[in-house]
């Protein structure tokens, strides 16, 4: 009897602490500070650079943080790869300052032209940048876990939570939000390009390839890169980013 009561108590305690931890995590996510004290991004000669001002507290702590970040990213993106991009950019360029924006877009391009899901490629790459092999391993695990758990739950209990109408509306609402976010990011990138003719014409060409001619995105990237190799000689100074 005593044991039973004891067990019940500890169970309630567990549930309480679980709720507390979840609330705490949510709160921290929403009030995440803009600046990471350990790193800063500074500009010189029109180019962004990354500087580590203070050594990170510990590698293990950083790896756990990385797993947590990617877990959240995996949890909050519906409809696959590209919906993840804004969230990743915000987390790793703005909040954590692991990468400059230019590096981030380069990693995205590489992730697109290598085999496999883009989200996994991005996670492995960013993880490796932050903390070598260990970082890439845990970043990948972090981004896999949410979908793995959700799909397992659906398969085991035969209920599809996500077919319930309000949930579906919630998800489509988030997707609409993501569209707004991506639009905002596109405008930011365009502002940065500064109306460069080379930039605008390759972008226009790629758009025609993608939307009208339905060329495979990998081929579109390769064509852009090829044009960069041929024509880059005359444009790299003006662009200020090569």
């Amino acid at each position: 009897m005593l044991l039973m009561i004891k067990g019940e108590h500890s169970q309630i305690g567990l549930r309480k602490s679980f709720i507390l931890i979840t609330l705490n995590a949510l709160l921290k996510t929403f009030t995440r500070k803009e600046k990471d004290k350990n790193r800063e991004i500074y500009k010189s000669q029109g180019q962004e650079h990354l500087r580590i001002t203070k050594k990170p507290t510990s590698k293990i702590k950083e790896t756990i943080l990385l797993t947590y970040d990617f877990f959240l990213i995996g949890l909050f993106t519906i409809g696959g790869g590209y919906a993840m991009i804004p969230q990743m950019r915000q987390t790793f360029c703005k909040s954590r300052k692991y990468l400059t924006e230019e590096e981030f877009w380069e990693i995205l391009a590489i992730s697109q032209i290598t085999p496999g899901p883009i989200a996994i490629n991005m996670a492995t790459f960013i993880g490796y940048r932050v903390n070598g092999f260990l970082g890439s391993l845990f970043a990948t695990i972090g981004v896999i876990l949410p979908s793995f758990i959700v799909i397992l739950l659906i398969s085991i209990f035969f209920i599809n939570f996500f077919q319930i109408s309000p949930v579906k509306k919630f998800l489509i609402g988030i997707l609409a939000g993501v569209v707004g976010e991506i639009t905002y990011i596109i405008l930011e990138i365009l502002k940065k390009s500064g109306g460069n003719i080379f930039y605008l014409s390759i972008m226009f060409l790629s758009l025609v390839e993608l939307l009208v001619l339905r060329v495979n995105p990998i081929l579109v990237i390769l064509i852009g890169g090829f044009l960069g190799i041929i024509l880059g000689k005359w444009f790299e100074d003006k662009n200020g980013s090569s």
Binding site: T29, F30, T31, R32, G74, L75, I78, G79, G80, Y82, A83, I85, P86, W105, L108, A109, I110, Q112, T114, P115, G116, P117, A119, I120, T124, F125, R129, V143, I144, P146, S147, F148, I151, I154, I156, Q163, G173, I174, L175, A176, G177, V178, V179, G180, E181, I182, T183, Y184, F198, Y199, M203, S206, L207, L210, L211, N216, G232, K233, E236, S242
Partner: protein, 173 residues
């Protein structure tokens, strides 16, 4: 044996599909529905419809689904590992040697040419989301609203996305 086969099939598909989950679907269908007869066509289509609205990459969701259908939790584990392994190993190699050709002029110019393509790809991503999930005018209004908010409030995108989700429950049909 089934587990190894599951792992191998997903590994193979992971290697040969470039450009993410959507490109994987026809291959998955050919392997598991037509060749191996492990899953019925009807079930497969059901999986796709669910995988598209649940969190996470579609390829991973499909792997977990198919794996569970064939061999329970362990099956989904093996399938997921199989589909992740190729991209994990390849990116590990690329990331390892990326520093060495970063100073290479040809690589730099290649990246210079890729930057505008990224902008085009993002526009294409919007087109894909809109074509698949938007019906009626309301989602466009929500998207415009979120765009305006993103211009002013830059602290936490998650709050904005949650807000658009909650808004979606009330205004979407």
């Amino acid at each position: 044996m089934v587990l190894l086969r599951l792992f191998a099939e997903f590994f193979k598909i992971g290697i040969v599909t470039f450009g993410g989950g959507q490109a994987m679907l026809p291959l998955l269908q050919r392997t598991f529905v037509i060749e191996l007869h492990w899953i019925t066509q009807e079930r497969f289509l059901h999986f796709i419809s669910v995988a598209e609205v649940t969190p996470g990459p579609i390829a991973l969701n499909m792997a977990t689904f198919i794996g569970y259908e064939i061999y329970g939790v362990i099956g989904s584990l093996f399938a997921t590992l199989g589909v992740v392994m190729p991209s994990f190993l390849i990116i590990l190699l690329v990331a390892r040697f990326e520093g060495q050709f970063k100073k290479n002029l040809v690589y730099k110019r290649f990246m210079l040419g890729i930057k505008p393509v990224i902008a085009a790809l993002l526009i294409n991503a919007i087109y894909l989301i809109v074509r698949r999930g938007f019906t009626g005018v309301t989602p466009y209004i929500v998207a415009t609203l979120s765009f305006v908010v993103f211009n002013f409030y830059k602290k936490s995108p998650v709050i904005i996305l949650l807000a658009t989700g909650i808004l979606g429950i009330f205004v979407l049909k």
